[in-house]
């Protein structure tokens, strides 16, 4: 079964069984109209989704249950709240929600309808809306500070066959509340996978959301993540996207600053190897005055890999006193790697301070020489410099076990002894 047949089949299975059938049908008809995003669309100019052509599905495949021991190493800390989804379904036995139930409302796809899109930015989101099998609905009341971070694990277990799963999440955060969320997607098995996760966040006044996306998956894993964030006045959103391994990653982050005095920070680090393809797209819309946004993405490219960065900042006519900064820095380690970057500003207000910068280059010879002249091997010196470059982003991660976990992964990858 190829990808198109799979979509057809999944849709027929899910339409009658869960969720709002009408919303699913509308989304499907829109998907049929707009199709998968192609190179003709400006936002997908550099993004190649041909991997979908090689997908081969076999629905008779029986997957055994995922054991706790199989995911133990993925758990950042056993203390943290934890939601585990396996192959599109929620697995309660692996999850750890403790006394969190009063804050978090988990829904089954069949139980709730919410947030129907007015507009689908691309075909994948329409597809997600029509096919999503599960997701989390998190509702945090006013004045609640979640004592521990919540880790959401999406586990895909397969043998040789392809797996296609779709999740849809909604997180509403009340006034003066705060939550930390860690997202991890992981494949256990040898087949190729494609996972789409569409999440919508609503931040109440003076609330804070810290979102950590740690992407380190198998070489046959493909991921499309869509995050839309609506911020009310004085709210604070911090997003971390650390992409270390996978075959294909595309992150779309859309931030709407709908109240005054909002702060937004998007930080990203990507390290691409072999023929990996990682793509970070972001759009920050300053709709109201006196908001600050800060975007910093660092990337290291090796092998025949490709990375894309596209950051767009729109400052609407009302949004005076906006401050928006954006920077994208890249180190290329190989002559076969490709970087495509486009930091973009669209400004319709005059009392603003906006800037962006982008650099591409290799490691400075002087820096390497400095370290080598102090008795450090060239290989080690190189790793140290790269690690320092990555640390500019990872240092900002406030959750200690997560930071050390990521740094451990990185140092393994950068071969630091």
């Amino acid at each position: 079964m190829n990808f198109a047949q799979k979509i057809e089949k999944e849709f027929n299975l899910i339409i009658g069984s869960s969720g709002d059938p009408e919303a699913r049908s509308v989304a499907m008809s829109i998907f049929k109209k707009i199709g998968l995003p192609g190179k003709k669309i400006e936002e997908w100019k550099y993004t190649n989704i041909n991997f979908l052509n090689d997908f081969e599905f076999d629905d008779n495949e029986k997957i055994n249950k995922v054991l706790f021991s199989e995911i133990e190493h993925l758990i950042i800390s056993k203390d943290f709240y934890r939601m585990v989804f396996v192959n599109g379904q929620f697995d309660k036995s692996l999850s750890f929600l403790d006394n969190m139930d009063e804050h978090i409302k988990l829904y089954q796809a069949s139980q709730r309808t919410f947030h129907n899109y007015n507009h689908y930015p691309n075909g994948f989101i329409a597809l997600n809306e029509s096919l999503f099998s599960e997701g989390s609905f998190i509702d945090i009341p006013d004045n609640t500070i979640l004592d521990k971070p919540l880790q959401i694990l999406y586990i895909i277990k397969n043998s040789e066959n392809s797996v296609f799963t779709n999740y849809k999440n909604q997180v509403s955060i009340g006034k003066h509340s705060k939550i930390d969320v860690i997202e991890t997607v992981r494949t256990i098995g040898n087949g190729s996978t494609f996972t789409t996760i569409a999440s919508n966040f609503k931040l109440g006044e003076s609330s804070t959301l810290n979102y950590y996306n740690f992407q380190s998956d198998s070489s046959k894993a493909n991921y499309y993540g869509y995050r839309s964030i609506d911020q009310s006045a004085k709210s604070n959103f911090n997003d971390f996207t650390i992409s270390i391994a996978s075959n294909f990653i595309r992150n779309d982050v859309f931030v709407n600053l709908l109240g005054e005095h909002c702060e937004t920070s998007l930080s990203g680090f990507y390290y691409t190897l072999n023929d990996e393809f990682f793509d970070n797209h972001s759009l920050i819309k300053h709709a109201k005055p006196i908001c600050t946004s800060n975007e910093t993405y660092h990337g290291i490219l090796d092998g025949a890999s490709t990375a894309v960065f596209n950051g767009k900042i729109i400052v609407e006519p009302d949004a005076q006193k906006t401050q928006a900064y954006q920077s994208n820095r890249n180190i290329l380690l190989s002559d076969t790697a490709n970087i495509f970057t486009k930091p973009q500003l669209e400004i319709y207000a005059d009392d603003v301070k906006c800037s962006h910068g982008a650099t591409m280059g290799s490691l400075e010879k002087e820096h390497l020489f400095y370290l080598c002249s102090r008795g450090i091997t060239e290989k080690m010196a190189k790793s140290m410099l790269l690690m320092a470059f990555a640390n500019r982003i990872t240092d900002k991660i406030n959750i200690e076990p997560l930071r050390s976990n990521i740094e451990k992964w990185l140092s393994e990858k950068l071969e630091i002894e």
Binding site: L332, D335, I339, F340, P343, A349, D350, A358, M360
Partner: protein, 480 residues
């Protein structure tokens, strides 16, 4: 101080000063566009057959294309059948300037263009293009002594067909884009310039473009070839009368720089920008591109864009030869309802190629000003280096400034840097000026001039002063 007074004087004067219409008898080709019109243009010019065939091919291709919509500009659809594609002063002027229609001489006099060869002191050779045809080229003989060919492209097609054939369309093929295809089919005149091996062109070459007739489009084509080790500096200026309708200007400029050659191309674009309500003005859809064919060649674009209702223009460099250099300096000023989508492309192919982009956008009133640029470093371009800086200055809270830089790098030995800022003139700075007895408007003019200095200093002397005045005039009414 004298210069400052002059600036002030300019500030107090109002609006577009080149908006007059010259009353010259003209002949038109029938309105609209079809193969017969193209054949007519070609036969009027006594062109060799290859040119006609090329035009027809371009026209055929153009019919298959759709007008591009990606640029950040809005305009009502253009009716390509409602345009005169050929208009020329009735009696084609003779070689001697005395025989030129005095009205036309007066026109160029008014524009301050030294058509008259007596003005030898100004030291600029001029080719003036009036609507569709070139009316006068000065200093032709003096240039010929050095072997420099500088003439209208229609003359070049008759006198040097082989040279034109070799280079035309080699940098901007007719398949390149919608407007380039249209231009290739219907271009009526333009300048041709060839600098032979090792010659340093003794004077600035210059072309003045003037649209006069109503409902006409201007489609000129400029081709500059600098042979091995030569140098040329070329200036281009444009004006048009004030009319309520929008007129189309779709030009193509091709530059070819051979080994060690250097071309410096400067533009002061001051087409009629439309009135304060956004009525009228020129649609300026221009394709400009240069190629550094061989090693150590250098192409430098400098542009001051103050006119046109809509500007759609990306002077580009293809850096094919090793160690070749491309430069782009631009000041784009928009006011009222003007829209500008301009920038550059730097395509690095050769080893150790270098490029530098300095773009300064100034938007005021209700205008929109976009920088759109591409820096592409191919795998083979080892050690390539690019530095881009694009700043935008916002005057007024209803205008827009946008930046769309595309950066594509495919090797590890190259270094690419890009930086951009957008801001308004801060109150602190204005206060500093006020404190010293300098009024608001004057202060803004000074700040803008300082802001644009990096680009203006690249212009040849004669143009720099003019450009400075132009900026001040365009700014007028946008402050306070």
């Amino acid at each position: 101080m004298a210069k400052d007074n002059e600036l002030l004087e300019q500030l107090s004067q109002s609006d577009y000063k080149y908006g007059f219409v010259s009353n010259i008898e003209q002949e038109f080709a029938p309105i609209g566009l079809n193969e017969d019109i193209i054949k007519l243009i070609s036969s009027k010019k006594n062109e060799p057959d290859f040119m006609l065939q090329w035009r027809l091919k371009a026209f055929k291709h153009w019919k298959t294309l759709k007008e591009p919509e990606w640029a950040k500009v809005n305009y009502p659809p253009i009716d390509y059948q409602a345009i005169y594609y050929y208009a020329s002063p009735k009696a084609k002027p003779k070689k001697s300037l005395d025989e030129i229609d005095p009205e036309m001489l007066a026109t160029f006099e008014k524009l301050g263009i030294p058509l008259n060869e007596r003005k030898i002191l100004s030291g600029v050779a001029v080719d003036a293009v009036f609507d569709s045809v070139s009316v006068a080229t000065t200093f032709k003989e003096k240039l010929a002594e050095k072997g420099v060919i500088f003439c209208p492209i229609s003359d070049a097609l008759v006198e040097h067909p082989e040279l034109v054939r070799k280079y035309i369309g080699s940098v901007v093929p007719y398949t390149d884009n919608y407007f380039a295809a249209l231009n290739s089919a219907v271009f009526t005149d333009g300048s041709f310039c060839y600098i032979p091996k090792g010659v340093r062109c003794p004077m600035e070459l210059s072309t003045y473009f003037r649209i006069n007739a109503a409902s006409t489009g201007q489609f000129e084509r400029t081709l500059i070839v600098a042979d091995e080790g030569s140098y040329v500096s070329y200036l281009e200026g444009c004006t048009a009368p004030m009319r309520d309708e929008n007129q189309l200007h779709a030009a193509v400029v091709e530059l070819v720089a051979h080994k060690d050659a250097q071309i410096k191309y400067s533009t002061v674009q001051n087409w009629y920008p439309g009135d304060k309500e956004g009525r009228g003005g020129i649609y300026n859809f221009v394709t400009k591109r240069g190629i550094c064919l061989d090693s150590n060649a250098k192409i430098s674009w400098t542009q001051v864009e103050t006119g046109s209702a809509i500007t759609w223009k990306y002077p580009s460099c293809i850096l094919k030869g090793d160690n070749s250099v491309g430069e782009f300096y631009s000041v784009a000023m928009t006011n009222h309802h003007q829209q500008a989508d301009t920038g550059t492309k730097m395509i690095h192919i050769g080893k150790n190629t270098k490029s530098r982009i300095v773009s300064k956008g100034i938007s005021a009133g209700l205008s929109h000003n976009s920088y759109r640029g591409l820096v592409r470093v191919s795998k083979k371009a080892e050690g390539a280096r690019n530095f881009s800086q694009c700043d935008s200055l916002l005057l007024g809270d209803k205008c827009g400034a946008h930046t769309f830089p595309y950066i594509e790098v495919s090797n590890k030995t190259s270094t690419v840097e890009h930086e951009a800022t957008t801001s308004k003139i801060s109150d602190d700075i204005l206060f500093y000026f006020n404190q010293r007895g300098i009024g608001r408007e004057e202060a803004v003019a000074m700040i803008v001039n300082g802001y644009a200095k990096e680009v203006l200093s690249q212009l040849p002397m004669e143009f720099a002063v003019e450009a400075q005045k132009l900026l001040a005039v365009s700014l007028e009414g946008s402050v306070g």
